[in-house]
Amino acid sequence: MLKMNDISKIYRTDLVETHALSGVNLTVEEGEFIAVTGPSGSGKTTFLNITGLLETFEEGQYFLDGEDVSQLSDKHLSRLRNEKIGFIFQGFNLISDLNLYDNIEVPLIFRGLNKQTRKQRIEESLELVGLGSRANHFPAQLSGGQQQRVAIARALAGKPRFLLADEPTGNLDTMMARQVMALLQEINRQGTTLIMVTHDNELAQRAHRNIQILDGQLSDIAKSQLTDLAV
C-alpha cells in the first residue's frame, strides 16, 4: 500500500548540497507500526515529510495506494493528505486562536463533510483521547500532553489509513509520553498504519518493525540491535 523506490532528496543552497535521503527503498503493509530511528540530521523528518506528501523529492518513485504521487496535481495531493494521511507533529501545530472543537474540525471542513458528520467525528475523537469534556477549551489552557492528544484527535477524526507521527513525545515528560504512546499503540491495534519517527529507542521497541536512517540511507534493523543501542 505504500512503496518507495530509490527516493532521493537533496537540499541545495548557493554553497552546499545536502543529500538528506539517498536511494530510499521501502514498502509498508497495511496495519504495520513502524518506528524510524536515527541520529539528529540523519533524514528521519525528511523521510516522514515525503511520506506524508509535505515535501517533494528529486529522484525515485513513491506509490501511495498504487498512485504515483510525483505525477499528481496540488489538488490531488491535497486530497490524499486529507483523506489518507493523519499527521502528528512534535510541536503539535494546533491553531491557538481556535478551541479544540474548531481545531479538529478544520481538516473535516476541507474534506467537505457536513456539519452533523463533523460534529459526530469530533466528539468521537475527543472521547478517544480522553478530552471529551474539553471541546471548548483553547490549546493554551491545556498541558503539553493534552495538546498532543488533541493533535492525535485531529489526525484521527479524518479516519486516515496512515498515521505519521514526528517525535510525538519529543516535547512531553515521561509520564505524558507513556500515555501518548499507549494511545498510539491502541490506534494501531484498531488497524491504522502507524509510522513514527523517534530518537527514543525505548519507544521504538514498541513498534512491529524498526527502520534506521543513517546519512540518508534507510535500513531495517532488528529489535535486539535497538536494545543494544538503548543500553
Binding site: L54, E55, S78, R81, F87, D97, F110, G158
Partner: protein, 455 residues
C-alpha cells in the same frame, strides 16, 4: 460556501488586535477622505456642469474708472439702457447666439388667496422665457410662459414654494398673491439639483429662487430689486429708491441690476463669442463719446466655467484639507499593507498547516479572499458611517457660519455623500487589501508545508 465563510471568519478573528488596528486605521482614512472629497466634489458640481463652456455672463462696465471689481462675482450687471441696446442688437442679428436671457433678482411675500397657507418670504428672479430652457430647469407641472406673455400676471413656482403653498399638488391654474396682486401659476419647477444660485452670479449655496415672474411684469409693477446692484458714484444717493420704488428713475440711471446670459452653440462657439465681443467693443466705444465706459475693462464675457473655477479658487482651505486627506489615505493604505504583512507573516505556518491537513492552494486563496473581503467591508462600512457623520458635522458648521439664514435643504445638498467618489475609494481599498493580503498567502502556499511545520 458556508464552510469557506466559517473558515474565513475564523481567520478574521485570529490576531484580533492587528485586525482591529487595521480596520481602525482604514476607518480614519476613509472617513477623512470621503468627508473632504465629497465637500470638494459637490462644491464643483452643478446641475448644468455640461454647459460650463456654453453659458456666458455678459457685462458692460459702466462703473467709474477707478471701480475695483475684486473678483468675477462682483462683475456689474447691465443697466436697463444697455439691456435695451443688447436686446435690440440681438433682435437685429448683429450677432448670433443660441439664446440670450435677461433676469434680475427680486424678493416678495408669496401668499395664497384663501389664506390656507402661511405667507412666505420668496427670494425670486424676474426672468424672460428664454431663461428656463437655457438653464435647463426641470418642470414638474406646466411649462414656461410663451414669447408674448412677458408682461402678464403669471408665475412659475419652485417645488419648495409649491409644497408650502399648495401641499405639493399641481398648482397650475391656481393663483398666488404678491404685493396685493394676483398671479396665475403656469408652472412648477424643481431646482433641487441646482446647488448654486448662479443666475445672478452670487453663486449662493444658501438658497435658490422660490419663484420666477416675467421680467416685463416685474419691471411694469416695480417688483423690488435685491442683491448686488452697483451704481456709479453720482447715482449712489438714489440707489435705495431705485431698489424699492423708482423704476422709472432706474431705467435711465447708471445702476446695474439686470444679468444677461448668452448660450453659444457648441459647434461654432468661438465665432459666436467673437461676434458678441466685437459688438460689445463697438458699443462701448460708441458710448464712450457720450462720456460712458471710462473703465479700462469696459465689458466682460465670462463663461460659467470661469465662475466655477473661481469658486474652486476660493476653497483654498478645503483643498488643503483634501490634500491632507489624500495623504492620510495613502498613509492609511501603506499602514494597512504593513499590518496585513505582519498578520500574514504569522500565516505562513497556518497556510502550511492547512495544506498539511488537506487544503489545496486554490481553497486557501479563497479563504483568504473572503477574509480580506470581510475586513475591507467592515472598514468601508464604518468609514462610510464616519464620513456621513463627518459630513453632517460640516453641514452644521456651514449653517452656523451662515448664521442659520441659509435654506437647510439647499445647504445639505453640498454635504451629501458623493456615492461615485465613495465607490472609487471603496474600490481602491478592496484592491489594496486584496493585493497586499493575498501576496504573502500565495507565496506561503508555494513553499513545501514541511519547512514551516518543524519544531
Amino acid at each position: 460556501m458556508n464552510d469557506l465563510l466559517h473558515l474565513a471568519w475564523q481567520g478574521f478573528r485570529q490576531k484580533s488586535k492587528l485586525t482591529s488596528l487595521m480596520i481602525a486605521n482604514l476607518v480614519i482614512g476613509i472617513t477623512l477622505l470621503l468627508t473632504m472629497g465629497t465637500i470638494i466634489a459637490q462644491s464643483g458640481h452643478s446641475a448644468i456642469s455640461h454647459k460650463l463652456n456654453q453659458l456666458h455672463h455678459i457685462s458692460l462696465n459702466f462703473m467709474d474708472a477707478e471701480f475695483d471689481r475684486r473678483n468675477a462675482f462682483r462683475t456689474p450687471p447691465l443697466t436697463y439702457r444697455d439691456t435695451q441696446a443688447l436686446t435690440h442688437a440681438y433682435q437685429q442679428d448683429d450677432f448670433e447666439l443660441e439664446s440670450l436671457s435677461f433676469s434680475y433678482t427680486t424678493s416678495f411675500v408669496l401668499d395664497v388667496e384663501d389664506d390656507t397657507a402661511r405667507p412666505m418670504d420668496a427670494t425670486s428672479s424676474a426672468v424672460d422665457n428664454a431663461f428656463f430652457p437655457m438653464m435647463q430647469i426641470p418642470f414638474l407641472f406646466g411649462a414656461a410662459w410663451g414669447d408674448n406673455m412677458s408682461e402678464e400676471a403669471i408665475i412659475v413656482l419652485d417645488k419648495k414654494a409649491n409644497d408650502h403653498l399648495f401641499a405639493g399638488q399641481n398648482s397650475v391654474g391656481k393663483r398666488v398673491v404678491i404685493n396685493n396682486q394676483l398671479l396665475e401659476v403656469v408652472g412648477v419647477v424643481d431646482l433641487s439639483s441646482h446647488t448654486y444660485r448662479f443666475q445672478n452670479i452670487s453663486f449662493s449655496n444658501r438658497e435658490n429662487d422660490l419663484a420666477f415672474v416675467p421680467l416685463g411684469y416685474a419691471i411694469n409693477h416695480n417688483l423690488p430689486r435685491v442683491g448686488y446692484m452697483p451704481c456709479k458714484t453720482k447715482e449712489e444717493p438714489a440707489r435705495p429708491s431705485y431698489r424699492q420704488s423708482d423704476i422709472n428713475g432706474l431705467k435711465t440711471a447708471e445702476c446695474g441690476f439686470i444679468h444677461a446670459w448668452a448660450d453659444v452653440s457648441l459647434l461654432n462657439s468661438d465665432e459666436q463669442l467673437e461676434n458678441l465681443t466685437l459688438w460689445l467693443r463697438n458699443y462701448t466705444k460708441q458710448q464712450a463719446s457720450q462720456g460712458r465706459f471710462t473703465h479700462l475693462e469696459s465689458y466682460y464675457v465670462q463663461s460659467l466655467r470661469l465662475f466655477h473655477d473661481t469658486i474652486y479658487g476660493f476653497m483654498d482651505w478645503e483643498r488643503v484639507y483634501l490634500n491632507f486627506a489624500y495623504l492620510l489615505f495613502a498613509i492609511t493604505l501603506v499602514n494597512t499593507v504593513g499590518i496585513l504583512l505582519a498578520k500574514n507573516q504569522h500565516r505562513a505556518k497556518l497556510v502550511s498547516l492547512y495544506r498539511a491537513l488537506g487544503a489545496n492552494r486554490a481553497y486557501i486563496t479563497q479563504i483568504q479572499i473572503i477574509e480580506l473581503f470581510i475586513a475591507a467591508s467592515i472598514a468601508i462600512t464604518l468609514g462610510l458611517v464616519g464620513a456621513q457623520i463627518g459630513l453632517y458635522v460640516m453641514y452644521l458648521l456651514a449653517l452656523y457660519q451662515m448664521d442659520y439664514v441659509g435654506v437647510a435643504d439647499q445647504v445639505l445638498k453640498l454635504y451629501s455623500m458623493d456615492m461615485l467618489f465613495a465607490l472609487k475609494a471603496a474600490g481602491a481599498i478592496y484592491l489594496t487589501i486584496i493585493i497586499a493580503g493575498l501576496y504573502p498567502i500565495i507565496k506561503a502556499s508555494r513553499i513545501a508545508p514541511a519547512s514551516q511545520l518543524r519544531g
